[in-house]
Symmetry: C2
Subunit: 326 residues, 2 copies
Amino acid sequence: MQALSAYHTVFQNYLTENDFSYEPKELYEPVNYILGIGGKRLRPLLALMGCELFSKNINRALPIAMAVEVFHNFTLLHDDIMDDAPLRRGKPTVHVKYNINTGILSGDVMLILAYHFLQSTEGSVTMTHKLWAIFNKMAREVCDGQQMDMNFESRNDVTLSEYIKMIELKTSVLIAAAFEMGAVAGGASLKQAAPLYEFGKNVGIAFQIQDDLLDTFGDPATFGKKVGGDIVQNKKTFLVLKTFELANSAQKTALTILMATPTHDELAKITAVRTIFEALNVQQHAERAMDDYLQLAFAALDETTLSGAKKTYLKEWANELNMRRK
Amino acid sequence: MQALSAYHTVFQNYLTENDFSYEPKELYEPVNYILGIGGKRLRPLLALMGCELFSKNINRALPIAMAVEVFHNFTLLHDDIMDDAPLRRGKPTVHVKYNINTGILSGDVMLILAYHFLQSTEGSVTMTHKLWAIFNKMAREVCDGQQMDMNFESRNDVTLSEYIKMIELKTSVLIAAAFEMGAVAGGASLKQAAPLYEFGKNVGIAFQIQDDLLDTFGDPATFGKKVGGDIVQNKKTFLVLKTFELANSAQKTALTILMATPTHDELAKITAVRTIFEALNVQQHAERAMDDYLQLAFAALDETTLSGAKKTYLKEWANELNMRRK
């Protein structure tokens, strides 16, 4: 297995070689724009890692890496329209920089381009047919997850298990499928690849819980986004839903009022909500949940016949991604 | 070959069997809604007809028929948002009946569902791989065409040949691909199916020119939409672009002013524009262009080894679709 930076370089080079300088430029320029403003490239990296578990030739998974990254950015593009988000990775979102119609149509063509890349994967048609099935299922689940997320905004009875299901669909299945498809492109059978899907899915859930944690308790110097943003937006995160599970009636009432009352004093609101979280140790509960999902991920890994060195590599990667040092 | 009504019944039954009563219902209910408000089912019919040219079992093409109809309705759904259209087939559009976010996300999932149906086509993986390639190319071209159409709105130098290219991409390639994919599912080789694609493409271009003609010169009693709508919306149709090709400078100036000046008297505007069209015989030019494209379609058909009876059936169908009696 290679250093993460090596996978990153391989993917960035492929992205540069495959830039979208097509006509009509009004359609494809936004595609280049959103793919160009960076991101961690977590999903392409997983596709390449999944491939290398079974093959020395990670180039076989490059079209898959591209498909999952283009698909991921399609979801960001359309989600940003739905949320009317002004910024993405510190830059204007596509519908702000261009306009909403461009955002809709360029997003549509990205979804189609993802299928193009997937189909161009070298190998037998039997193999690409498997990739197609994995991708179709994943893509639909991501839409289901996005709809659940939107439904949660107007509901006051969302449970923690519903929330976990939502982040599994909206976020984790793509991480899982990227890893699984990479493995299939590397020569894994569907049976060999299935536990890798489980590994990716559970790492993805832990990663999303970490995202909730960092948004409220992260270090402003390194977080990248504004700490407390979820609180200001009244998002029903893991922390909020765990609080409603654990809180006494006074705490429930306080949090409900804080979330329902518009305020100009964002800092005071953040401090007040965080005080409730801290009184109930929800930070520790979230960390424990992360660890539980990582243990599920590692258990899936232990079902595979991968070498001990490869398993160790993947566990260290998952721990590092989730800032866990156990 | 069967009567058109027989294909229609087969498809409608399949559509009913495959209704989208899934969760989350907020995502799938709009899918059922737009598929339920009708339409001619032209594309599914072509998929079934294409299949029957090579196989007695038209059921093999039903997933393709569904894929092209779901894809077509996905484009209508997103186009209606981009155009902010209030009505579709006399009913409220999805983004009006629900909301824009629902329109975007339900459209996205329809595009994915189209790929699902396509993949579920029975047959060898080699065959479904061919379908996938045809579909990918078509889907991307439809986006290109929609972008060209949007670009035309703000341009004053659109040529007739650019317009033909736009309608080819936006409308005809889907009609062509539906026919070609149906044939492939029926057992045709790509070489056998290629002229059928050309047939469908040229019939589709004629059909779109007819749409322009009917919008201005159609019988209000049978047209279904408001006659003159294109004129009111200053659309750069075949009629307008042909007029700019043929007009003297006074006529050009008159049409330019009519298209640039907001008016509350729609009827006066429709009458004035139609008078210019009539002075230049653009109706006859459009009819001649339709005939030219139908002749191209028939020439493609004559390249095939289909029986004379099948060729006659397809020519009669194309003539009837385009209300030509030659």
